[in-house]
């Protein structure tokens, strides 16, 4: 009885369900990907899967194209999102919370639904689907992930720093370039990571908004697993590992700001 109480009374016990979940659905799959990527369908160790990727020009091109699209999306989101976040955080709006909410609101709806709705809108106005539609869809879906962290850092910034800069002789532009921008880098960084990471691996948006005309790296992986049959799983696992590596690298760039960035997310 006492032992039971000890087990359920301990706070550490509460973590068990999640630890179990973590092991089953995160660690184990990662391990499987790793094992599959380095083995043949019959289970022997091989590097053939990676060699195959680097020798298939279509796969490499898709990979480069995906990263380019992701970068472009991130840049567009940054260019659109920073001014929006800046205005929300600094302008003397009567209801800044409502404004922030309006920007976040699309995140309440599943992105597949939003993307499908976008497709219908494009069809309704007779706009051809393709690369433009893809970029539009990506930016539309991921813009809030850029705005919110930037808005957060800007809003938390001490107003007296701006006054101090003006007091020391900085004009409006100099206040921005010398104080506000450098101080909002943690927000920019986490916004970039939060937009870049999911856009590299997305496949649903590209499939819907380009009618499968444009293949992104995510689709390649999806096809390897979905259509290729069991034979292709090892290749798919290798592709996944390559993508994981790229995403992993992004989150390490600017390591100095990482802790700050994490606090923003």
């Amino acid at each position: 009885m006492n032992k039971l109480k000890y087990i359920f009374g301990s706070r550490r016990t509460w973590a068990w369900p999640y630890v179990l979940f973590l092991v089953l659905f995160v660690l184990l799959p990662l391990l499987l990907i790793f094992v599959y990527a380095f083995t043949t369908p019959s289970g022997e160790f091989t590097l053939k899967n990676f060699v195959q990727f680097f020798h298939t020009s279509e796969a490499v091109n898709t990979f480069i194209y995906s990263i380019a699209i992701a970068l472009l999306t991130t840049i567009i989101c940054l260019l659109l999102g920073y001014p929006a976040a800046y205005i929300m955080a600094t302008a003397e709006l009567k209801t800044p919370a409502v404004m922030a909410m309006l920007f976040i609101l699309p995140m309440w709806i599943n992105f597949l639904l939003r993307t499908l709705a976008t497709v219908e809108l494009f069809n309704m106005f007779g706009i051809p689907l393709g690369e433009g539609a893809l970029l539009y869809g990506m930016c539309y879906d991921f813009l809030p992930f850029m705005i919110y962290p930037i808005y957060n850092t800007l809003q938390k910034m001490d107003r007296s720093l701006i006054e101090a800069a003006r007091d020391l002789g900085a004009n409006g532009r100099e206040v921005f370039t010398k104080v506000i921008l450098p101080l909002s880098t943690p927000g920019i960084y986490s916004g970039v990571v939060m937009v870049f990471m999911p856009t590299v691996s997305t496949f649903a948006i590209s499939e819907l908004l380009t009618r499968n005309k444009i293949t992104l790296f995510g689709s390649l992986i999806q096809r390897a697993f979905g259509e290729g049959g069991l034979q292709m799983w090892n290749y798919g696992a290798a592709l996944s590992l390559i993508m994981l590596l790229i995403i992993g690298l992004t989150s390490f760039f600017g390591n100095k700001d990482e802790q700050e960035a994490q606090s923003v997310i």
């Binding site: 001490d158 006054e163 101090a164 800069a165 003006r166 007091d167 900085a170 010398k178």
Partner: protein
Amino acid sequence: MARKDFIIEVNHVSKRFEDGKLVLDDVSLQVKKGEFVTILGPSGCGKTTLLRCIAGFQVATEGDILLKGEDITQTPPHKRPVNTVFQKYALFPHLNVYDNVAFGLKLKKLDRDTIMKRVKQALKTVGMSDYEFRDVDSLSGGQQQRVAIARAIVNQPEVLLLDEPLAALDLKMRKDMQLELKEMHKKLGITFIYVTHDQEEALTLSDRVVVMSEGKIQQIGTPTDIYNEPQNCFVADFIGESNILSGMMIRDRRVQFNDLEFDCIDEGFGENNPVDVVIRPEDIYIWDKSLEKRGKILGQEDDDAEDRVPKGKFTKWYGVVDSCIFKGVHYEMTVKTENGYEFMVQDYHEFVPGTEVGMLVKPEDIQVMKKEHYIYNHLEGEVLKNGKVRFIGADWEVSEGQLKPFSPGDKVEVLVPYRSVDLQDHEDEGVVSGEVHFILFKGNHYHLTIRTDDDYDIYVNTNDVWDDGDRVGIDISSKDILLRKMEELEN
């Protein structure tokens, strides 16, 4: 004094915030070159707003501000040759100590060598030479404050504005920094305008003190002037400890308070006019009455009393010590007199509670002030059709005798004696509700200022104890309300 000798002139400046609150009310102030001026007042008195108007972060609604005779009222802050030391330092967290200090110089596009020389010089002035490449977040509060001062003085401003720069430091550090600031001021020769709510700081540091309250300047003077000759109750109460009593000026150099007559040195208050009397607790001489009975003011406990207490024809009064607190150097006692007055006395000797003591004060230590208000609240009112009178935003019953000479619609002056205002614990029990805004102890009663929710000030004399900010209900008995014709007022 010639106009050009003033570096800063503030002329009739008023500032009204967007919500309609008047934070500065016709403030005028001249600051000489090289002067150390302190703006002193409680929080919310407008002192920081005044500083921000000089710095350029806020624009005066009315009036103008001149710097060396040039109008800068509308000049944006980055074009003013003044620099500010902010209360919470406002150091740039993304820059190290050196770059923080160099910030202003780099904006002026000075060459690297000049910048380096001046930054090093500034850091040396504030005693932070070895910290150039430290992260500002790794510095202590006092060190950050030094960097903030260096960042301001490195630009060699005409005027250095300091907004409660020491408020965030602990007591010991604050005292050290006070001395250093004074040294720096001497060394640099820059005009300092310093804002604080700490009266001791103001008296220690400044050449001149500007006492502010409710957006108005109450008094401008040297620390000695402000302390010894406060111009009104607010200043007397805010600067140091004081006994403030209601009195009567019998004639020049003769004043009555505490039911006794005293010689004093003040003149020009007329005859038999009500006045306020201020006596500093350290100016009251106190001795054990039992020693006096034995025919000598001499005893083992208090063997220097004879030398200590001045001899001569002084009015003496007596009381019983009510409490006695040791304050480090001196003792602070409250003494109750037979006729119900209470005096605060400070002395190096301890007089335990219950001791019967005698007291006297020298004529030159009695400070007589014009009474700001007499005994009535003077309010504007209007007679209504239903026989009531409307004032301070409510309708009041008034006795028939008072109402008789007036007809509905007449504007009248309403007189309500301070003593007749009833304060209720629960705000909804009164006709009008408000907040205790200011408290003054007048020896045997409290003089309160109640600010009603409609922003009228009502003065109340009471024996009850209230706290600043207490919510109260205000009630006035119909028989205590007096009405006068408006014309009488004008004559």
